[in-house]
Amino acid sequence: MKQFFSFFKKEVYHITRDKLTLSIMLSLPVVLLLVLGYAISTDIKNVPFVVLDETKSILSLQLVEKLSQNKYFELAGYLHSSSEIESHFQKGDTKLALVIPSSFNSDMLLSEAAIQVIVDASNPNEASTIANYAQLMIQQYMQTQARGQAPLAPIRTEVKMLYNPQMESTYNMVPGIIGLLMILICALMTSVSVVREKEMGTMEILLSSPLRPTTIIIAKALPYLIVGLIDNVLVIALAHFVLGVPIAGNLFLVFFLAFLFTFCALALGLLISTITDTQRSAMIASGAGLMLPTMLMSGIIFPISSMPDILQWISCINPARWFVAAIRDVMIRGVGLVEIWEELLILLGMTVFLIALSIRKFKNRL
């Protein structure tokens, strides 16, 4: 234990004396989140919209008026047939189309009326804001109507997202940022810090001392684990309190998943440190071998389901894929343990396997 603490203390010196790296490791989550926070502009203004009014009634006119009489939306014109919707979207002169069916008027007096809201979702963040605002306006209209006369039937809005039906948005990016950060800090930093000992020749000294290889591994990984866990908490707190990202699911489960992936990243970093001999090659291996797949093959940026089959298969061996899928479901969709047990089990299995493999490889290098 004394050995361990002496060694751990030294690792803490390494990290705290390298002020630049330490400040990067701690400020990166903030920077990443803020950059993304600015990238999503939640303000919409004078968004042009078109209307396909098939009933041409007072009610529908009032509704359109309600929508165009505020700073968020601007009526760009009426359409004559549904085939025109697509061409307007293609030209880009509208972002929102309202389809009021011919039965709207009668439905509204009888039971429930439906309106279709079609949104150009090629910019997903904007699209979700537009859809939310439009729905809100429609609800408000309905309420003012209800106050005036005999209560009318509720209006049901059907939102249809064009071009990006999955709505990959910033909310969905937060889990991805956690994944990336963990790969960066736990995998890259750990592998570089172990390989540095090889490069400097201090590893030989450590190995010829009574220190056990497992002690060396744990003492080297622990400080980065701590930094990683701090970053996890930082990202989730910032995302929630500053950017207002909802955490729909169990917070404990969210952290559990994040911590599990942190261990997984750590094991990957140790594995890289056993197969590389210079800091540079360790950096390249974690950059190209881990960062890229984590970014491109995990569903953070491109949805897995839209990849070619072969890439989908390959992405199955990427731990980040399972992590991103699971934590997204918990954070955004708010599901529980029961729904993500498959992802969790795969991630857990991979982590245990990677830790065992890296410790084994580390010992064999002696």
Binding site: S6, F7, K9, Y13, D18, T202, E204, I205, S208
Partner: protein, 245 residues
């Protein structure tokens, strides 16, 4: 008890025999020079003695412990200094001592008193709070040796400990080795400087994984009818079939 006792020690990597049936003994407190051209198998032999590598066959005892079974006991009783004077550059000399003292399980009090003594012996009081990276090479080398002998090992393995430093610093370094020998610490040194070979009590010369010569420097010179160790070394190294590195 001999400090090191080796019989027929062999290490093969696949078809390649890096160390071929070496046999020798080192007395306690002796300064033993372990010479050989690059690629002769010195490092492999040394790694086996330090418990870092399992031999393929042969018998060996270091500090009285079996090199197959008791590598942990061996590691507790040896010191190791590499040619890179491997210290932690972003730690001060004092912190390096604290680290290695801790690794070898010395108490805080022991570490403190030993550190004082080392700084006094080396005359480095002024540098104790400086980061190692800001120290000149010659001083780093001294500190590195002090680190490798900090826990008073029975044997210290020095792998080309004087590479890259000036003759003056090499001279004072050898004085440190002698001082350690007086305290009963056995030194096992590899070097490429033949003038240093003369400082050793006995030397062995490895060629192609085998020990081809083993005696005191003066006996070797007589045997090979040479004026200097340089000539002895060349006479043997010329027989090598393996190329270095």
């Amino acid at each position: 008890m001999k400090a090191i006792e080796v019989k027929g020690l062999t290490k093969r990597f696949g078809q390649f025999t890096a160390v071929d049936q070496i046999t020798f003994e080192v007395e306690q407190g002796e300064i033993f020079g372990f010479l050989g051209a690059n690629g002769a198998g010195k490092t492999t032999a040394m790694r086996m003695l330090c418990g870092l590598l399992n031999p393929t066959s042969g018998y060996g005892k270091v500090a009285g412990f079996d090199i197959y079974k008791n590598t942990n006991d061996i590691k507790r009783n040896i010191g190791y200094m590499s040619q890179k004077f491997s210290l932690y550059e972003d730690l001060t000399a004092t912190e390096n001592f604290e680290l290695f003292g801790g690794i070898y399980g010395l108490s805080r009090k022991e570490i403190k008193s030993k550190t004082e003594k080392v700084f006094a012996d080396l005359g480095l009081q002024a540098q104790r709070k400086l980061l190692v990276k800001s120290l000149p090479l010659g001083i780093k080398q001294k500190v590195s040796f002090a680190v490798s002998t900090f826990h008073s090992p029975k044997i210290v393995f020095l792998d080309e400990p004087t590479g890259g430093v000036d003759p003056m610093a090499r001279r004072t370094f050898w004085e440190m080795i002698y001082a350690a020998a007086e305290h009963g610490i056995t030194s096992f040194v590899t070097t490429h400087y033949m003038d240093e070979a003369e400082y050793c009590n006995r030397i062995s010369i490895m060629v192609d994984g085998q020990i081809r010569a083993l005696d005191t420097p003066s006996n070797l010179k007589r045997e090979f009818q040479s004026e200097s160790m340089e000539e002895v070394f060349h006479a043997l190294a010329r027989q090598a079939k393996r190329s270095g590195e």
